[in-house]
Symmetry: C2
Subunit: 224 residues, 2 copies
């Protein structure tokens, strides 16, 4: 590979050295619907389009740190599941490199930034409008990855409150996978994996039998 001749900065630096963007797909489940956090662009290009939160990487900040910071700026959260997703090329049609991440947050803990410009908001993943910079591609990829990961990891811990009922957990899974799950099989599997444990407390809400509360044994990523 020819080294990018960085000595000759004068001529066309934007054409020789690609810009590096960091994008974060922040997902949550609100009322049994999988949603993604988007910000409304207040500048060109794509002014007034919605897009994923992110921006150009400025040294000396490391990639992961930039993703964590962006997540924190939009939601106020730092201690959530976050992983690198994929690195896209030329989403903007100008040769930039976009390193993408995806994060899972509990929507009640997330306090969305309040701004006059670049305001963030939650959007149902199903039925998104066309987004800036082909961000739809990135979101599809993130959802695909999340669906796969639900099956062999405990990442859902990052979507739910500390304590939750098995029904809540199941509804979160169903919202993400977009298909119904069998109640008995779901409970059997969750319990046999040993990743959750009953807390002993009960949630008595609604006019029905009160239900057992559970918590994840580990609030950090575990691969089965």
């Amino acid at each position: 590979m020819a080294a990018a001749r960085q000595g000759s900065q004068a001529t066309l630096p934007a054409v020789q050295v690609p810009a590096v963007a960091v994008l974060v797909v922040i997902l949550t489940v609100v009322e049994d619907v999988l949603k993604v956090l988007l910000v409304r662009r207040s500048a060109e290009p794509f002014r007034d389009y919605w897009s994923l939160p992110g921006g150009l990487l400025a040294l000396p900040e490391p990639l992961d740190a930039a993703a964590v910071r962006k997540l924190e700026e939009e939601t106020g959260l730092a201690d959530v599941y976050l992983e690198q997703l994929y690195t896209f090329c030329n989403l903007d049609g100008r040769g930039s490199v976009a390193v993408t991440y995806f994060a899972l947050v509990h929507h009640q803990r997330a306090k969305l930034a309040r701004r006059t410009d670049w305001q963030p908001a939650w959007f149902p993943v199903a039925g998104l409008p066309a987004l800036a910079f082909q961000n739809n591609l990135v979101i599809d990829y993130a959802v695909q990855r999340l669906r796969a990961k639900l099956d062999y990891s405990n990442v859902a811990y990052s979507l739910l409150p500390e304590e939750f009922t098995l029904s809540q957990l199941q509804r979160a899974y169903e919202a993400i996978l977009a298909r119904p799950l069998d109640k008995r099989n779901f409970r059997k599997r969750m319990l046999s994996l040993g990743i959750i444990a009953a807390t002993g407390r009960r949630a008595g809400e609604g006019r029905h039998r009160p239900d057992q509360l559970y918590a994840f044994r580990e609030r950090r990523p575990i691969i089965f």
Copy 2:
């Protein structure tokens, strides 16, 4: 994320805008040993250390194209399995972003570039010396990914010749996984997956019973 103020290019461009490197982990199996292609560096930093082939991304070349080109430059091969691996940050201690790929080649088809400098060579993955730019990390990651993928995809097609025996295939799997496999279970699984088919020809080599030759039905990536 603060936009990297690209207007002020004059001062310290190398500090503000990260360099983007593309690295390719080219793996093969030679005589039942998993090997990786490394090139001997002929310039600072890390002169005379071995490192993964790669270089800085120069626009307008897209990321994937750079990886394909690099692979072709080193091995002469273009039609092999190649996928993006992960994007590392700061492997060089100077804040660069390294987008890494991994490729699988059949070592007899690969014609290594012959040069006086930056000469490539195959190295057994087990027992590598310390490489330039923490490249050992990248190789470990690639091997991990390859091991996982063997289990649920047909990527091995890219490691073997057009026709091969089931014993050859099994030895390739064993070399990569670094553990012995049961012959009967291996054959049963490979055949029941329907990804390979007997060609009808036999390989009569050596002083033993001649064996059936097989070929992958599809020489392109398939996920089970």
